[in-house]
């Protein structure tokens, strides 16, 4: 109540004050404007009076200002600034400025005053000064004050009465509504309904409020249901998520196991690789040391070889010296045995003759041996012999004639010469063929006539010479030492056991080789790669 009254009173006061201020302002402005236009009119009317020096006319003109009761002074100055006419006529000189400088109309100290030019056309004729008091303003101020006071008093009175009347029909239902609303918002109970007091606007408002409550209640129900559904869904989804999370964890665990296994395998691989590398290094080291050993061995072998060669040469020299130095004592011995046999011819002792013959045989054997030794040294010497184109047939024919003289039996030689000629040292080739053919005849079988086949052909890059006989053959057990010096496997014929050795040396010195192919006791085959 009091609040209402104070509020409306304050509002009213402010409004009235604003209105009051505005009125005063506009009144001041309009007063100013009025004075201005009054000045304009008066100035315009006083031009002729000024122009023609008509003071009476000027005074008459100013006297017209009498109708404006607030004009307290009006003065016309001529163009030189001298006072020309005044109003009212009894105006004292102290009431107006004697110096008529032009000033805009305005409020100065309790008065409204100003001066303006009097102009006809373009010609300046003088100055008009006007002065007005502010009584009109004060009157207006008083009037407005009264009006404001009365209006406010009445307004507040009416407001008080109206509020008294209306509070019953308006405030109470609104208060009831507000209480209901508070109760609802406090308890969240949307079943409450506001009580309807009347059928006016407030009744409608109450209805609307109740309707709204109903809607809110329905919405609330729906929301609750929705919430429940949502919670259920959330729970379900959470469960699903947990399950899937567990699965994921399981998968992760398996993966990590696999990972561990893999990394273990990787470690194993690394280790194996390292071992392999170590092994490799070890191997390399071994190969290196072995290589060193081999190199050392080779050096050793070379040294030994060199030594052996030296020994060999020494041996050759020895053989040569021995054969050469033994020749003359043997010859002397043979001569002495011959002389002894002639001297003892007459002695009739068969034993002596037999001994002498045996001595003769022995010396002959010794001579032959020495000859063979010389032959070996000769071979050694002929090694550097020059090459020449040699015909196999010719060489074989020569040897055949030679052997037919010395051999005490007949023999047949077949030639199957695919290769007719060869570039070879002639003495070497001759020596090889002579030894092979003489051996074939020497070790013939007593059961059959000797038959020798000599064949030549090209095998790979070599020329092969093959001599086949139908003789005694060589026993299996002798084969390893077949080509050694002074080895003989048949004692029934003469021989020094040096032929095959010589052949081997000749052939091998030329880069070839000799092979023996046995036919048992049916004969032998010597295959020579020249």
């Amino acid at each position: 109540m009091l609040v209402n009254l104070l509020t409306s009173g304050a509002v009213l006061l402010v409004t009235c004050l604003a209105f009051f201020g505005y009125e005063l302002y506009t009144f001041r402005q309009s007063t100013l404007t009025k004075l201005k236009s009054l000045g304009e009119i008066t100035a315009a009317n006083s031009t002729a009076a000024l122009a023609f020096n008509d003071i009476d006319a000027a005074n008459e003109l100013l006297a017209l200002l009498h109708s404006e009761q607030h004009i307290v002074a009006a003065v016309l100055f001529d163009s030189l600034g001298q006072t020309f006419a005044v109003y009212p006529l009894e105006l004292a000189e102290s009431e107006y400025p004697t110096d008529p400088h032009l000033t805009e109309y305005g409020y100065t100290g309790g008065f409204l005053e100003g001066a303006q030019p009097v102009v006809q056309g373009t010609k300046f004729l003088g100055t008009l000064y006007l002065k007005s008091d502010l009584k009109a303003l004060q009157e207006r101020f008083l009037l407005y004050g009264m009006v404001v006071l009365i209006v406010m008093g009445f307004s507040i009175l009416i407001a008080y009465i109206l509020s008294q009347l209306l509070s019953h029909s308006i405030s109470r239902p609104i208060l009831a509504l507000s209480e209901t609303a508070t109760a609802i918002s406090n308890r969240q109970d949307y079943t409450v309904r506001a009580e309807k007091h009347s059928n006016d606007e407030l009744g409608i408002l109450t209805n609307a409020f109740n309707h709204m409550l109903g809607q809110i209640q329905a919405k609330d129900q729906t929301l609750l249901q929705f919430n429940k559904n949502l919670e259920k869904k959330v729970a379900e989804r959470t469960l699903e998520l947990e399950i899937s999370l567990n699965e994921q964890k399981e998968t992760e665990r398996r993966l990590s196991e696999k990972n561990t296994a893999l990394s273990r395998a990787l470690e194993e691989l690394h280790r194996t690789k390292e071992e392999l590398i170590n092994l490799n290094n070890e191997l390399e080291r071994r190969v290196e040391s072995r290589t060193k050993e081999v190199v050392a061995r080779e050096i050793e072998v070379n040294a030994k070889n060199h030594e052996l060669k030296k020994v060999n040469i020494d041996l050759d020299n020895f053989i040569y010296t021995a054969s050469h130095d033994l020749k003359s004592p043997i010859s002397n011995l043979e001569g002495l045995v011959g002389i002894l046999k002639e001297e003892l011819e007459d002695v009739d002792n068969p034993n002596i003759h037999q001994f002498l013959d045996m001595m003769n045989i022995c010396t002959t054997k010794l001579r032959n041996t020495i000859q063979d030794l010389a032959e070996i040294t000769k071979v050694q010497k002929n090694l550097e012999e020059d090459l020449e184109l040699v015909s196999f047939e010719k060489v074989i024919e020569d040897i055949k004639e030679e052997l037919q003289i010395t051999a005490n039996s007949t023999f047949a030689v077949d030639l199957k010469l695919e290769t007719k000629e060869i570039l070879y040292p002639i003495h070497g080739l001759r020596s090889v063929l002579h030894n092979l053919l003489s051996n074939a005849i020497k070790y013939r079988s007593n059961e059959r006539p000797a038959h020798i086949t000599v064949s030549t052909y090209n095998e790979e890059d070599n020329v092969v010479l093959m001599v086949e006989d139908n003789g005694l053959g060589i026993e299996e057990r002798h084969l390893p030492r077949l080509f050694s010096m002074f080895k003989r496997f048949h004692s029934h014929v003469d021989g020094t056991g040096i032929g095959l050795y010589i052949i081997k040396r000749i052939v091998e010195n030329r880069g070839g080789r000799i092979e023996y192919i046995s036919k048992g006791n049916q004969g032998s085959i010597f295959k020579v790669f020249l």
């Binding site: 315009a44 031009t47 009076a49 020096n53 056309g121």
Partner: protein, 188 residues
């Protein structure tokens, strides 16, 4: 210079007013001092009269102040109009000896010794937009428009507005307020 001249002129007028009594002594003799005031009045008259447009060839055509008869102003009239203008028009003084030659004139000060001659001139000028001014007695009755009168130690003037309106001239009410309006009955 123009300002100084203006000041000088008004000073002259004011001096004249303050020396009212002295002037009165010489009033009857029409001293040159009276004519200095009359010259200023003659110029001031032009400020309160409106001519019809046909009175000027164009906007720049000067306003001609003519003097018929003997020139009583001396150099005062020239001083009065010097540097002044009327609605943007310059002011020119022209002196006429016979009325036949009056043309292209807007204000005519008539100073003829014989009244009969004045009558004849006014008759001839009838219908033309020329403001006729004189200080001869009986000028208005003869059909003139403005008559300068010496009275009460001052120079007043009388105006016949009918004659002016017949000549298509508009005289400001402000001028009429300070003048003595004389109505001349139409001649029979």
């Amino acid at each position: 210079m123009a300002h100084l001249n203006v000041l000088y002129k008004h000073a002259a007028v004011t001096a004249c007013l303050f020396a009212g009594n002295i002037v009165a002594l010489y009033a009857q003799e029409e001293t040159p001092k009276d004519y200095s005031v009359k010259a200023v009045y003659l110029y001031n008259l032009t400020q309160f009269v409106e001519w019809p447009p046909k009175a000027f060839q164009n906007a720049r055509t000067p306003l001609v102040v003519g003097i018929l008869g003997e020139d009583p102003f001396g150099r005062h009239l020239e001083e009065a109009i010097e540097g002044e203008e009327n609605n943007g028009r310059s002011l020119v003084i022209r002196k006429f000896t016979t009325e036949e030659k009056i043309e292209n004139c807007h204000v005519l000060f008539i100073n003829l010794p014989e009244a009969s001659h004045t009558d004849k001139v006014l008759e001839n000028l009838e219908g033309r937009s020329i403001l006729t001014v004189s200080d001869h007695a009986g000028f208005l009755e003869a059909g003139g428009m403005v008559q300068l009168v010496q009275a009460d130690d001052r120079i007043h003037f009388q105006i016949n507005p009918d004659a002016a309106s017949e000549a298509d001239l508009k005289i400001s009410s402000k001028l009429l307020r300070v003048a003595e309006v004389i109505t001349v009955p139409n001649e029979p």
